[in-house]
């Protein structure tokens, strides 16, 4: 318990220091980091309960973005409210993907699980490529480009929604897991599938619903991102990687840790970007940390 307290103190100290010395990087990193954790939370949910690393996670996000783009373009649907439409569609897509592919190999070797999500990821990317070509698409809404002035610094106002949304989704997941009947069943399945089956939980159903629900949650991130990104087919790949990176850093089952590590890495990325001449290196922050964290964890396990 004391260790966790120390971590929190360290985290807020870091926030304060960054805000003091690099205010632009502070706001930018806070916003980006929240977005990363917003995308990472559903992945962590699937990883924690189904025990499956979904390599197609980011590509489902891309699909959600394209759906939002079409809604905006054809029906003039406001991006933020398009979540109402995208979430059910993604829920169905997640359900279909799970039933058609993943469920059939769930019992076999773990390599098959990874390979099949890899196959799903490729299929999704190329499907998007085929349908909408690789031309980048943009959505413009006036409210998304407004900026506000905080202590003499101009920062984008729209991006603060990311922070609110990531905390909101975190609370939603924790609420579902702790308070609802389904959530408690899912929690039990995540801890011990065999034991859960013995006490009469329908493990198959829990896996299906968890996967579909987590896929539907990607819609929240997608609908918020629509006005602020160029949408292209390969957008999702780095997000899968970053999401896994955050999950690995926080440790399995540590949902608040994902938001904290997301913000930490977002800040680190923003600081690297703010150094003149080194902005191209910012992509390395995530991968460097990923390799470092995983290697350290693996090393510790090996030593033990």
């Amino acid at each position: 318990m004391k260790k966790i307290m120390n971590l929190y103190i360290l985290f807020f100290l870091m926030l304060f220091l960054v805000a003091l010395f690099r205010p632009y990087a502070f706001f930018y990193g806070l916003q980006r980091g929240s977005l990363y954790s917003l995308v990472a939370l559903p992945l962590a949910l699937i990883l924690g309960i189904v025990g499956l690393l979904n390599l197609a996670h980011g590509d489902l996000l891309t699909l959600g973005l394209y759906l939002g783009y079409i809604l905006f373009n054809q029906l003039r649907f406001d991006p933020i409210f398009s979540v109402i439409v995208i979430a059910p569609i993604l829920f169905i897509i997640g359900f279909v993907v799970y039933k058609l592919t993943i469920e059939r190999v769930l019992k076999s070797h773990h390599l098959n699980l990874l390979l099949i999500t890899f196959g799903v990821s490729i299929t999704l990317v190329e499907f998007i490529n085929l349908l909408w070509t690789s031309r980048p698409r943009n959505v413009y809404v006036p409210y998304a480009t407004k900026s506000i002035n905080i202590f003499g610094i101009n920062v984008g106002a729209y991006e603060f929604l990311y922070i609110a949304a990531s905390i909101g989704v975190l609370l939603l997941i924790v609420f579902i897991l702790k308070k609802t009947r389904f959530g408690q069943a899912a929690f039990a399945v995540g801890q011990n599938p065999k034991g859960a089956a013995i006490v009469g939980i329908n493990v198959k159903l829990v896996y299906t619903i968890t996967f579909s629900l987590a896929t539907a949650m990607i819609a929240i991130a997608a609908s918020l991102m629509i006005p602020r990104v160029s949408i292209f087919p390969h957008l999702g790949g780095p997000f899968t990687m970053r999401s896994f990176c955050l999950t690995a850093m926080a440790g399995l089952g540590n949902l608040p840790g994902i938001v904290l590590s997301g913000i930490t890495l977002g800040l680190a990325e923003a600081i690297v970007q703010s150094i003149p001449g080194y902005s191209g290196w910012s992509d390395l922050v995530f991968f460097g940390v990923l390799i470092l964290v995983i290697a350290l964890k693996g090393y510790r396990r090996a030593v033990r």
């Binding site: 690393l53 592919t101 059939r104 190999v105 076999s108 773990h110 390599l111 098959n112 990874l114 390979l115 099949i116 890899f118 196959g119 799903v120 990821s121 490729i122 299929t123 999704l124 990317v125 190329e126 499907f127 490529n129 085929l130 070509t133 780095p238 990687m241 896994f244 990176c245 690995a248 191209g280 290196w281 992509d283 390395l284 991968f287 460097g288 990923l290 390799i291 995983i294 290697a295 964890k297 693996g298 090393y299 396990r301 090996a302």
Partner: protein, 303 residues
């Protein structure tokens, strides 16, 4: 005996192919053999039970090392292939010490991330690698003579196939299959798991590096996006899966089948023909666990 004569016949056919085939076929055969080597190297790593997504990364490393060796240090192009292989092997040695402590998805995603790291390095170390624009040589290897390039790639492919057979027939096979099936048992039989994994990782990375070097010398240029392209991961994986994993003939059969199929598909649908590979990966994992070669072998044996 029939098997041996078949192999000798296939090798003779492959050696004399350029004397009667047209340029297009030679070119297609060369690129299929490059991918065949990648598929074999990926499968060799998989035989230890470790799923590596780093194929494209080491491929690109070898390509960059070879091009830089020729351009900046005026090494001869043939020597540069060895340099590409050695460079990839050295990096694999350094990284393997840390990465090979990982298992399952942690290993897979870390190797996937390594590819991105190499790409970012290649893009940003612009003094050495030419940055985002890449590097172009004035002359391709053998002045771009497709027949000589074909023979070079063929001899490389034969070396890789022989290596894969060594892995299948010597005591290494028993070590790596026991690691794949149960690490605890392997450990208690006195197998040094880490040593074997590192050995296989270095060998496969060297193969990937050499393949990258040959590919880069053939086209005489490197560029971050296309050299580290995910094609060099996706196609070998699909080929090995289709042919059948954990064997030497599997990836070879898969590479030949998918290689010719992809040439046809490219003409049929210029955009997004890769979707077929994704679907093939999914379908083979669900329905054809042993791949085409393994299924045929089972059918023949049961008769």
């Amino acid at each position: 005996m029939r098997k041996l004569s078949f192999i000798i016949g296939a090798v003779i056919f492959a050696v004399f192919l350029p004397t009667f085939a047209d340029m297009y076929l030679i070119h297609v055969a060369s690129s299929i053999m490059i991918f065949m080597c990648l598929a074999l190297s990926w499968d060799m790593m998989l035989r230890t039970g470790q799923l590596s997504f780093g194929t494209a990364g080491f491929f690109g490393l070898g390509a960059y090392a070879a091009i830089i060796a020729v351009d900046d240090f005026s090494v001869s192009p043939v020597m540069s292939i060895f340099i590409g292989a050695i460079f990839a092997a050295l990096i694999a040695l350094g990284l393997g010490v840390a990465v090979l402590r990982l298992r399952e998805m942690y290993f897979a995603i870390t190797t996937l991330a390594l590819t991105s790291v190499f790409m970012v390095l290649a893009r940003n170390l612009s003094n050495l690698t030419g940055g985002a624009a890449g590097k172009i040589l004035f002359h391709a290897i053998f002045d771009g003579d497709p027949k000589k390039i074909y023979w070079l790639i063929l001899s490389f492919a034969i070396v890789v196939i022989a290596l894969s057979e060594v892995f299948e027939r010597t005591r290494i096979k028993y070590a790596i299959s026991s690691i794949r099936n149960d690490e605890l048992v392997a450990k208690s039989c006195g197998i040094n798991i880490f040593k074997y994994l590192l050995f296989v990782f270095i060998i496969t990375s060297a193969i990937q590096g050499a393949a990258g070097a040959i590919y880069a010398q053939q086209y005489a240029f490197v560029e971050p996006e296309s050299t580290f392209s995910s094609n060099f991961l996706l196609l070998p994986v699909a080929m090995a899966l289709v042919g059948g994993i954990y064997s030497t003939p599997g990836p070879i059969v898969g590479a030949i089948v998918l290689g010719f199929a992809s040439e046809y598909l490219k003409l049929l649908m210029p955009y997004g023909h890769l979707i077929i590979y994704g679907i093939i990966i999914i379908l083979t994992i669900i329905f054809l666990r042993k791949g085409v070669y393994g299924t045929i072998l089972d059918k023949v044996r049961s008769k």
